[in-house]
């Protein structure tokens, strides 16, 4: 067992946890935050996406002990008011079964932040040279799809997810 200090959705948490515990299992089984989902437990689907210190990560491949002291935000963290992305997902029906949705929304929010600060994706290299140095001017469909490609949706709500993200970006 190991002592962990994590700030989860703004609340400091002090936990004694199994050293083997992933952040995903810690959130779900110890803290009762079941909004983050387990889809594969091996980094293949993105359903477990949360943010750690502001950047999106896979909680199933995060050893909780290795992020001792970090700030974690889950899908529950946003508070009672729905934000632009959540409203857009509802409006555009950006889900069907809803199981991958927590990960999709967390990634979608991150996509908007990453784009705003000029981060690249593999899709950025298909544009002009300036795009690589300065970052893409526009969050195109191709950019969104590539940046979201780590979130698998078996129901295939992809088109509506992208519509929701474009709506939220505008």
């Amino acid at each position: 067992m190991t002592d962990l200090h994590l700030t989860v959705n703004g609340t400091p948490q002090r936990l004694s946890a199994d050293i083997r515990s992933t952040l995903l299992d810690l959130l779900r089984e110890r803290l009762g935050l079941t909004g983050t989902k387990k889809g594969c437990d091996h980094g293949l689907c993105g359903a477990c996406t949360v943010t750690v210190d502001g950047e999106r990560v896979l909680s199933c491949l995060t050893l909780a002990a290795s992020i001792d002291g970090a700030a974690v935000e889950t899908i529950e963290g946003a508070g009672a008011e729905l934000d632009t992305v959540q409203c857009a997902f509802i409006r555009h029906d950006g889900f069907q079964c809803g199981y991958c949705t927590s990960g999709q929304i967390t990634s979608a929010r991150s996509v908007l932040r990453e784009f705003a600060r000029g981060d690249l994706s593999a899709a950025s290299f298909d544009g002009c040279r300036g795009t690589v140095t300065d970052g893409p001017q526009q969050l195109s469909d191709e950019e969104i799809r590539e940046r979201m490609a780590g979130n698998i949706c078996r129901c295939g709500a992809y088109a509506n997810i992208v519509s929701a993200i474009k709506d939220a970006a505008s």
Partner: protein, 325 residues
């Protein structure tokens, strides 16, 4: 998974001491933790190196760049120095995995990720010399579609899955390591180990050596470079074949060239003759095709991966075309 001892290292020397005592380095964990869940890796102790402040990316005196081994893949790919001077490296890193994984994984860890051979990754397969020396190689007579064309042996036909490493090979990177016996710089072409009779070794690191940085010499190839990754779906899959291509072109003539293949060997695959054939050549498809044939000379396909030979050749031509666009 088996339980393990765990500590955070505060200094590089402290980390090396722990490793010398048997602990495994733990950074992003995106590969090691996965392999621990699968029972492929069973370390008794981990030493977490996340607090060692090894993430800086800085220009070096010779006009190159030193990437701290602790920099995340995302940080490296998006760094202005990398985007500006080594765009092929940025592109290679961004071709790998997904944003979430790139935010966690370090560049040091990227070099150390282990093969994706399914027989290696599942301990219920008895025959895997890399995981269990002497037990045989199930891929030789089994599923080998994704396996090596070059540098393999009767003991192991696995490939190294890193995209970043292929670009580093084309850019003549050097891997800085810090071990119990001091520091050294390992040229990237000497970093990975071909399987030979000891496929359990992926690389030439000595016991307890910690990667502290990756140094890139100044490059004239930035203007005309490209990383092409060919895989079974449009994103989020390992390479069947990849190509890092860089050219320096003056007045329509190639004056410098670097060409490396990924997904085809236990190390990025460079062939001097292929690059030499481009020097002095005009920028033409014919020149590209000659280089493609030379870099795939000596390919030894297995039962299921013969298509990779044509794929590699076509991909080299494609990558070189895109590099000069």
């Amino acid at each position: 998974m088996k339980t393990f001892a765990f500590e955070h290292a505060d200094t590089v020397d402290g980390a090396v001491r722990s490793a010398a005592a048997g602990a495994r380095y733990y950074a992003g964990g995106t590969n090691l933790l996965d392999l621990m869940k699968l029972g492929v890796e069973t370390p008794g102790a981990l030493v977490d190196i996340g607090r060692l402040d090894l993430g800086a990316i800085t220009p070096t005196e010779d006009g190159g760049v030193l990437i701290g081994a602790g920099a995340t893949n995302s940080a490296a790919a998006n760094d202005p120095l990398i985007r500006g001077h080594y765009p092929m490296l940025s592109q290679a890193i961004l071709s790998g995995a997904t944003t979430q994984i790139r935010n966690m994984a370090t560049v040091g860890g990227n070099l150390l990720q282990r093969t994706r051979c399914p027989y290696f990754m599942d301990p219920s397969f008895a025959h895997c010399n890399k995981r269990d020396p002497g037990s045989g190689c199930a891929a030789l007579q089994g599923f080998n579609r994704e396996h090596a064309l070059f540098g393999a042996s009767a003991a192991c036909v696995a490939v190294h899955p890193s995209d970043m490493a292929v670009a580093l090979a084309a850019l003549d990177a050097r891997v800085h390591v810090h071990g119990p016996d001091g520091v050294r710089a390992v040229p990237i072409e000497e970093f990975f180990a071909l399987p030979g009779e000891s496929p359990e070794r992926d690389n030439t690191l000595r016991a307890a050596e910690l990667i502290t940085g990756i140094a890139l010499p100044p490059s004239t190839l930035a203007r005309n470079s490209w990383y092409l990754k060919v895989r079974d779906r449009h994103s989020y899959a390992f390479a069947l074949v990849s190509v890092a291509a860089g050219l320096d072109v003056i007045d329509g003539v190639i004056v410098a060239a670097a060409l490396a293949l990924g997904g085809v060997a236990a190390t990025p695959w460079r062939v001097a003759a292929a690059e030499e054939s481009l020097i002095g050549a005009p920028v033409t498809d014919a020149a590209f095709r000659t280089a493609a044939e030379l870099i795939t000379a000596g390919a030894a396909p297995l039962a299921q991966n013969g298509f990779k030979v044509d794929l590699a050749r076509n991909s080299v031509v494609r990558a070189l075309r895109r590099a000069v666009e």
